[in-house]
């Protein structure tokens, strides 16, 4: 689960982490009154969406008067902000964060994350800001500093000291940075965060260190014990179809093609998308309906696919084994019989008693195309879609 920048900064402040002063605004009027309350000579107006790299899409504007703050807020609120990290249609901006301007002398990148190299948390740092860690890794891989955190003792001050000296901080700055990074780690650990990016940590022209931007992602599986974090969820940021799917226990990701993909199992669902592509088709979505889906869940999955107007044909890769094969086949035919779903569909059914399951599909008639393998199902779906297009 992601939260907004203003929420992340508010959490960090409770851990004693210095950030610029600011306030959230839902209207241009509110934005102006926040700026007036903050005082100062310039302000930064920042669109609050869950994707990063906002400046590139016009989501970060520096204003030098309350009037410019109003204009920036007017432009942003209600706009669909497209950044390299959003989907093509962008995210609608419903609120902005107005922050006092800070004169910066230096920018640093810090992140805490679950490190695939160690299967534990690591502190990552780089001597410059980046839009993503990926970007820093591509631009200057040798300059990324890493410290693996032992969960038994947590992040140790010496690890932060070593990184800070490697980044070229002097001892006074290093001491401040150690306090900040240790506080961020405490927050990371206590709140079951998966990623906290401090991007950037800045040194002001007065030699102060502060967090200029922060992005946090939390572990969905830990929200049962993180009620305060769970309450920060902003559902307006979710794609409506993906949210509907998640509520039904499905994992649905919209892609741009015309072949609806569906499978019962995450690995199988990834393979389905791959095989459709390999057969020369364009997948419309990724959809995992779970290893042993109920009839209701399968119906909801097919409804989701049919709600996408681009879909010409469905490629369903089903497996009995963790589910009963005949039950999978019966559920599918009953959904089609009740006309809950009407697109052409190619089905590959494998597992225990696969022949009995296939017979149930064959008996239904020509509305269900049965394929023996995943590749065959993908090719059939692609050719049916071509005929319809």
């Amino acid at each position: 689960m992601r939260i907004h920048e203003y929420q992340a900064k508010s959490i960090l402040r409770t851990y004693g982490v210095p950030t610029p002063r600011g306030g959230v605004a839902f209207t241009p009027d509110e934005a102006v009154s926040v700026a007036e309350r903050l005082g100062g000579s310039f302000w930064v107006v920042k669109a609050q969406i869950h994707a990063g790299d906002r400046a590139r899409g016009g989501g970060v504007i520096t204003a030098h008067s309350p009037d410019e703050v109003r204009k920036a807020a007017e432009t942003m609120i209600g706009m669909r902000l497209v950044t390299p990290q959003t989907q093509a249609e962008g995210n609608t901006v419903l609120r902005v964060y107005v922050e006092e301007g800070v004169a910066i002398s230096r920018e640093l990148y810090f992140a805490l994350l679950i490190d695939p190299l160690t299967s534990g948390a690591s502190l990552i740092a780089a001597p410059e800001r980046g839009i993503t860690l990926e970007e820093i890794a591509t631009r200057a891989p040798g300059r990324i500093l890493r410290a693996a955190i032992d969960p038994a003792v947590g992040l140790m001050p010496f690890q932060v000291r070593r990184i800070c000296y490697s980044l070229g901080l002097d001892t006074r700055q290093m001491r401040k940075a150690v306090d900040i990074i240790n506080a961020v780690y405490k927050c990371y650990d206590e709140l079951d965060a998966l990623t906290i990016e401090i991007n950037p940590l800045v040194m002001t022209d007065r030699g102060e260190l502060m967090v200029l931007d922060a992005r946090m992602r939390f572990d969905d599986n830990a929200l049962f014990r993180q009620k305060g974090i769970a309450a920060l969820r902003d559902r307006s940021e979710d794609n409506p179809a993906e949210r509907q799917a998640a509520d039904a226990g499905l994992t649905y990701i919209r892609l741009s093609g015309n072949i609806g993909c569906l499978a019962n199992g995450a690995g199988l669902a990834m393979s389905t998308v791959d095989c459709v592509r390999a057969a020369g088709g364009e997948p419309a979505n990724f959809l995992d309906i779970g290893r042993a889906p109920s009839r209701e869940r399968m119906a909801e999955a097919l409804r989701l696919i049919e709600a996408d107007p681009h879909v010409d044909c469905v490629c369903a890769i089903l497996q009995g084994g963790l589910a009963r094969t005949e039950t999978v086949a019966e559920n599918l035919t009953s959904i089609i019989r009740e006309r809950l779903f009407s697109l052409p569909i190619v089905v590959r059914l494998a597992g225990e008693n696969a022949a009995a399951g296939e017979n149930i599909l064959h008996d239904y008639g020509p509305a269900i195309h049965v394929a023996a393998t995943i590749d065959e199902a993908a090719s059939k779906a692609v050719s049916i879609a071509r005929e319809r297009a």
Binding site: A137, D220, F224, D274
Partner: protein, 297 residues
């Protein structure tokens, strides 16, 4: 036996009396697995599936001397269950539970370090040594005794590979689902070591997917290990969108890590033969085995 578990492995189940646990333990018993008892808090002294039930793992260990435990407990208490089993001295723990907080598993892994206890999972279908032992969810009827070892993050792709190798008559020595989460217990390298040393395994199938660095670690291990057995790999998610989680918590391309193409390249570089399609995992293994037999003659 293949690796990790066989005919003589004595197994208890934590969360024994639950619906899912009962179903799978009954299946396991039916195919000859030695389930010797179970643990369910508050059910101590009772009997379930004709096996004794205990309140604590320590009691179950004292009474039934198990080698392994399979855990079917809710995500909120699963880490506690793993630690209880390890503390009682159980050396193989299979945790089927899904949706465990990452932090819990990171801490559990650290606590198990040096204990000699192996953890498989969480979020795993478990493992099966066909004809001997089934620990977890894998349906015994789709497997048959043979000489191929299978390691997979995905349970459904493990089943695909299982069905294919069964249909081709190759069969399996042992199949291990290492789990689909970001952080898990045993990884490919741990399993590869065991399969390479197992004289009942002739070839190894590694099934991977996007996200993390486990496949890259496996490639690095194989690159510096003399491979005396053919290894075939299939990697899912070649066309996965970046930054999105694809069903498994661990299946996410992020921060420059984990795309399928670089995993495939690393494995190829290490001498692993890549199956190009999920349909071709078994047939690729069969071809590679025949080639290596021919080369040896």
């Amino acid at each position: 036996m293949g690796i990790l578990a066989g005919r003589n492995t004595r197994i208890i189940c934590q969360g024994f009396t639950g619906e899912q646990a009962s179903f799978h333990c009954e299946q396991a018993i039916a195919c000859g697995t030695s389930i010797v008892g179970g643990v369910a808090v508050g059910y101590g002294g009772k009997s379930h599936l004709d096996r004794p039930v205990f309140d604590t793992v320590a009691e179950a260990v004292a009474e039934t001397s198990p080698d392994a435990s399979v855990i079917f407990m809710p995500a909120t208490v699963a880490a506690d269950a793993i630690m209880e089993a390890a503390d009682a001295g159980i050396k193989l723990i299979v945790c089927v539970t899904e949706n465990i907080p990452v932090r819990d598993i990171v801490h559990t892994r650290r606590a198990l370090q040096g204990s000699g206890t192996r953890l498989i999972g969480p979020n795993t279908p478990g493992l099966i040594t066909p004809g001997e032992a089934k620990i977890g969810l894998l349906p015994a009827s789709l497997f048959k005794p043979g000489r191929i070892g299978i390691i997979s993050r995905s349970s459904t792709l493990l089943l695909e590979a299982g069905m294919q190798t069964t249909a081709l008559g190759l069969g399996q020595s042992t199949c291990v689902g290492i789990g689909g989460d970001r952080v898990t217990g045993m990884d490919y390298v741990d399993c590869l070591r065991l399969f390479l040393a197992d004289n009942e395994t002739d070839g190894i199938i590694l099934i991977g997917e996007i996200g993390g660095a486990l496949e890259e670690n496996a490639a690095a291990f194989l690159a510096k290990t003399p491979i005396e057995k053919p290894v075939v790999a299939y990697i899912a998610g070649l066309y996965a969108p970046s930054g999105r989680r694809l069903g498994h918590a661990g299946a996410r391309i992020a921060a420059g890590h984990g795309d399928a193409a670089s995993k495939i390249a690393a494995l190829r570089e290490a001498g692993v033969v890549i199956a190009e399609s999920p349909d071709a995992i078994g047939s690729t293994m069969q071809r590679v085995l025949q080639d290596s037999l021919r080369a040896r003659r």
